[in-house]
Symmetry: C2
Subunit: 521 residues, 2 copies
C-alpha cells in the first residue's frame, strides 16, 4: 500500500506516506520544528444543546447515529480499563449493526480483550487501527492482515497528533466510571472506577462529537470533572463499562526472578550512588515487574536515608500509594492507575494528582513534566551498542507492545533501562535493534544482571560512579559475555519487505517501520 | 471613528464596525448561529522551552520583551483581585518604559485602582480598552476621550470572543498568588491569595505568549494548578501582585437599607412560593448588597424547611461558605471569591469548586452551567415595561458598570431582578432603557419594594403565584406609582451622537451602543 521510502536521520527506512497522508521522517531529537497552528474544533452554540443540561440518549446506537457516524470516520476510545474495557467492542459491534464501514479505530491503546475487533477488521467495519496494539491485534497487524498501516504513538505523541491536527477524531467515545447527564465525568468513583480519564483528554478537547458512556450516573455536578461536560455531546448509560479488576493485568506484578530482582536493586543502587537520591528528588518507574521492584528497593533506601521525594510519577500502584501515605513523597503525579489501591488513593488523597498526556508528555507544548523528572526507570525489548532501544517488537520482529509513555519518559534527567541480558537465550543487547523506538542519545544507563553501562555522552554520570562499588562496564563487554553464554548473536529475523506499521517519534515524525513477519513465524 | 450604523433585532442602533473590524448586530436570543472553527494557537515545541521547567525571567520588562511586545498588540489581564490588583498598572508602566504604543488592553474587568491607565491612554501607550470599565475608566470612556470604542462583554462573552478568535491576545499577563517556575499557578495559596484564576483561563489557553507573575514561588509542582504551566512561556516574581483585602471592595456588603432588605425578602419569598425552593435545587445570587441579603433570607427558609441545595453558584462570600459548612448545599460552584472566607473555603474544602467562564458561561460551548441553575437573583440599573434591562449605564447615560456574569446568568430557569423602584428620585422602571444589556424575554421576575412583577411570558410562574400572600403586580402599575412619587418619568439624557462603546451579547453580536455623554454632565 505504500511504495515510497526514505532513510530518516536515524538511518531507518521509513515510508514517506502513511494511510494516504504524507509523513515527515524523523530528523533527530529536538530537530523538527513544527509550524502552523493547533487543530481547531468547530464553534458550537448553547442554542443547540439542552438548556437543562440533560444530554442523555437511550443507547450507544442512538448516540452514534446522532453523532453522524458514517463510513471512513475515525472513532476513538481510551484504555484506562486496560484489559478490562467493555466499551470499545460495544462501539464497533454497534457500528457493525448500523452498517458503517472502513472506520479508523484510534484507541489510546488496545489490549487482548479487544481481540473481537479482528472480526470487524476482517468484515470491513474497521479499516485499520492507529494506536498501541498489545497482544493479538499486534500479532494480526504483524502478519500483514490489516488494510491500513498501524501507527504507533507514545501517549504524548497521541496528544500531539490530535492537537496538531494530524489525526482528526470524528467521534470520541469515553468510558466514564461516573458521569452526570451534562457529560461531566471522572474515573475515581462508581462501581467501575478506573482512576482517571487523562488518555481521553485530547479526544474530549478536539473531537467533533464526544459521547460519554457510563454505568454510574449521578446528579449534576459530577465531581471531580476530569472530563468537562462542556466538551460532551451525548451521554449514554450502559450496564457495565468495564472490569476494573483487569486494570492490574499484564504489567503490574513484581518480578520474582532473581536476575530481575538483581537488576532492580542495581538500578536503585545506581540512583543512590549517582547522587540522584536526595531530598526533593523525583522519579518514575514504569509498569513491569522489574521497575516495580526498583521502586521498592528505592523506597527502602529513602527510608534508611530519611529522604523524601517531591513527587513520584505514576502509573500508580499500591507501592507508590504506600510511599505517599507514609510521607515519603509530597505528591503522586499520576497518569494512569495500575491497581485499585491507586484508584482509591486518587479518589481520597488530595496529593494524589490526576495528570494527562497534555501536562506530562505532549512534546508540542510549552514544556512538559517528563523532562523535569530526576530519574526514570524503563524496560525495553532490545538495545544496541549506541544505546538505541526497542520497546514495540520482539527480536523475531513481531509487534506485541505499545509505546505507552516510554518515549516521552526518555526526556527525564536520567533515563535508565533495566533489561535482562537475554530472554529465552536470545541476547537483548544487539548490533541493531529490530525497531528503533528510542534514540540512544536519550538513554543514559542500561542496567542488566551482568553489569551497568553508562552512555558515554553522560560523562557526568561516568565520573559520579567512579570508585563506587557498582559493576560499571561497557555495553560491548556485556554484549560479548552474553553472546558467549547464548552461543552467538541474536539471529536477525527475515522480515518481509512489506511495512505493517510505523512508529512515530514524540514530535510526529516517523522514527521506524514495522515490517511484516513471515507466515511461518 | 465609526460611521455606519444599523438597527439590530432589539431595535437598537449599533455600529456595523467596531475598532476597524466588522461586527454582527444582535439577532435575537439563540438566533445567531456561529459557523467556522475556534481560534487555533500556534503549535509549540518542548525543544524551545527549558528542559528543567524553569521559565523564570528576572522581571516583567524582560518577560514582555521576550514575549515580543510591540506597537498595537493586545495585552490581557484578569480581575480576580478586583480593586486590589497591582499587576495591570505595572504591565502598562513597563510597556511605557519600553516605549511601545497603541496597545489594546483586554482586562476581564477594570476597577478604580486602574485609574492610572488613563495617563497611558492619554500618552498613547494604550489605544483603547475592551473589557468592563468600573468607575473612573468608564467615566473617561463615557466622555469620548478614548481613541477606540470600548467593548463590553459578559464573562462568558469574553471567553467566547477569545475562543472564537474575535479577540486575539498577543500577550496574557496572569497575576498568580502561587506559582512554580514552570508556570503552574493558583489563587488559593500565598500571601496574596485571591481564590481562583478562572477569568484568565481563555487568556492562558489562547494567547500567543503567556506570562505568569507571582509573589509566592513554590517548588514544582504548584498545586492545584488552576492554570497549567504547559500554557505558560515566562514566569516573573515580583514583590506583591495585589491586595486581597480589596477583593471585598464595592459589591460585597449586605445592604442596610430597609427598602432593599424588603426587596431581598420578597425575592426569597417568591422563590419559596413559586416552588423553586426544594431539595436538590440550585441558586445564584450576584454580588451586591440586595442579592447578598436575598441569600441570607433564603438560607433561613432552607433551614426552617430542612431543605438542602445541590449546588450554589458563587461569587462566593462568607455567607455561602457558611451554607456549605453547615451542610445546606453539597457544593459551591464558584467563579470568583468575593471575600477572604471564600478564598479560605476554596483552599480547604473539596466541595468548594473552582469554575471558569468556560464551564459556566461560554455560550459557544456544548451547553454551560448557567442554564442549569434553578433561580438567579441579579441587580439592574434600569428595566423597561417589556422586562428589558440595563446593567452598564446609569440613567444619565454614563458607563459605570461592567456586565460581569449578568448576561450569562439570564439563562437560568428563573431570573429575578431585584431593584429599588427609584434611585435618587429617578425611577428605575422606564419606557426605554438607556442601554439594553439583557433582553426582556430572559428576565422572568422584577422585584421592587413596591411589588413583584412576573413576565407574562412565564404563565407557569403567574399561575404558581396565584393566591399566595405576595404583592404580585404589573410593571405598569408599579411604574405609575413610582412616577407619582418622583414627579414624572425619568428624564432621558441628551446623549451625543458619538458612540463610545458597544455592549456585546453572549454570542458576540452587538446588542447596544453606549453614547458619549455631554461635556457638562
Amino acid at each position: 500500500m505504500t511504495s515510497k521510502f526514505t532513510i530518516n536521520a536515524a538511518g531507518r527506512k521509513v515510508p514517506t506516506e502513511v494511510n494516504g497522508k504524507p509523513v515527515i521522517p524523523f530528523q533527530g531529537v529536538g530537530k523538527y520544528h513544527p509550524i502552523g497552528k493547533k487543530a481547531a474544533p468547530p464553534i458550537r452554540s448553547c442554542a443547540n444543546y439542552p438548556a437543562d443540561g440533560n444530554k442523555l440518549v437511550p443507547d450507544l446506537k442512538t448516540a452514534l447515529l446522532k453523532a453522524g457516524i458514517k463510513n471512513g470516520m475515525t472513532i476513538s476510545t481510551h484504555h484506562h480499563f486496560r484489559n478490562g474495557d467493555f466499551v470499545a467492542n460495544a462501539v464497533f459491534d454497534t457500528a457493525a449493526e448500523i452498517g458503517v464501514k472502513d472506520l479508523m479505530w484510534f484507541p489510546s491503546a488496545s489490549f487482548p480483550c479487544h481481540e473481537p475487533i479482528i472480526q470487524h477488521l476482517e468484515r470491513g467495519v474497521v479499516h485499520h487501527i492507529e494506536g498501541s496494539m498489545n497482544g493479538p491485534l499486534g500479532d494480526y497487524c504483524s502478519q500483514g492482515k490489516m488494510r491500513g498501516l498501524g501507527v504507533l504513538r507514545s501517549h504524548g505523541g497521541r496528544y500531539q497528533a490530535v492537537q496538531d491536527g494530524e489525526v482528526h477524531i470524528d467521534v470520541a467515545v469515553i468510558a466514564a466510571p461516573t458521569a452526570d447527564a451534562f457529560g461531566n465525568a471522572n474515573g475515581v468513583a462508581g462501581p467501575s472506577a478506573c482512576g482517571l480519564l487523562g488518555f481521553a483528554l485530547a479526544d474530549a478537547q478536539y473531537a467533533d462529537q464526544v459521547i460519554v458512556v457510563t454505568d454510574h450516573l449521578v446528579d449534576f455536578p459530577c465531581l471531580p470533572w476530569q472530563i468537562h461536560g462542556n466538551w460532551v455531546d451525548y451521554v449514554v448509560k450502559m450496564e457495565q463499562i468495564g472490569d476494573p479488576n483487569q486494570i492490574v493485568s499484564g504489567t503490574t506484578e513484581i518480578t520474582r526472578s532473581p536476575d530481575r530482582l538483581r537488576i532492580a536493586e542495581l538500578a536503585a543502587q545506581f540512583v543512590k550512588e549517582a547522587g540522584i537520591l536526595r531530598d526533593g528528588f523525583s522519579f518514575q518507574a514504569g509498569a513491569g515487574g522489574t521497575t516495580l521492584a526498583f521502586a521498592i528497593f528505592l523506597k527502602e533506601m529513602m527510608q534508611e536515608a530519611g529522604i523524601k521525594a517531591r513527587f513520584v510519577r505514576g502509573g500508580s500502584n499500591k507501592y507508590l500509594v504506600e510511599m505517599l501515605e507514609q510521607g515519603l513523597t509530597d505528591y503522586i503525579l499520576d497518569g494512569q492507575t495500575f491497581d485499585l489501591e491507586g484508584v482509591r488513593s486518587m479518589r481520597e488523597n488530595r496529593n494524589h494528582i490526576n495528570t494527562s498526556p497534555f501536562t506530562s508528555y505532549n512534546y508540542h507544548g510549552k514544556g512538559n513534566f517528563a523532562s523535569m523528572v530526576d530519574v526514570v526507570v524503563l524496560g525495553a525489548t532490545e538495545v544496541d551498542l549506541n544505546f538505541n532501544a526497542n520497546v514495540v517488537t520482539h527480536s523475531d520482529g513481531r509487534l506485541l507492545h505499545g509505546i505507552g509513555g516510554w518515549q516521552n519518559c526518555l526526556f527525564s534527567k536520567c533515563t535508565i533501562l533495566t533489561i535482562p541480558a537475554f530472554r529465552d537465550r536470545i541476547p537483548v543487547i544487539v548490533d541493531e535493534v529490530t525497531t528503533l523506538t528510542g534514540p540512544g542519545e536519550l538513554i543514559d544507563v542500561v542496567v542488566t544482571e551482568r553489569g551497568i553501562a553508562i552512555n558515554p555522552l553522560r560523562q557526568d554520570l561516568v565520573r559520579a560512579l567512579e570508585n563506587k562499588n557498582l559493576p560499571i562496564r561497557t555495553l560491548i563487554e556485556i554484549k560479548k559475555e552474553i553472546e558467549e553464554i547464548c552461543g552467538g548473536q541474536a539471529a536477525r529475523p527475515a522480515l518481509l519487505e512489506k511495512p505493517v506499521a510505523v512508529a512515530k517519534w514524540v514530535d510526529g515524525t516517523v522514527i521506524d517501520t514495522i515490517w511484516q513477519v513471515p507466515a511461518n513465524l
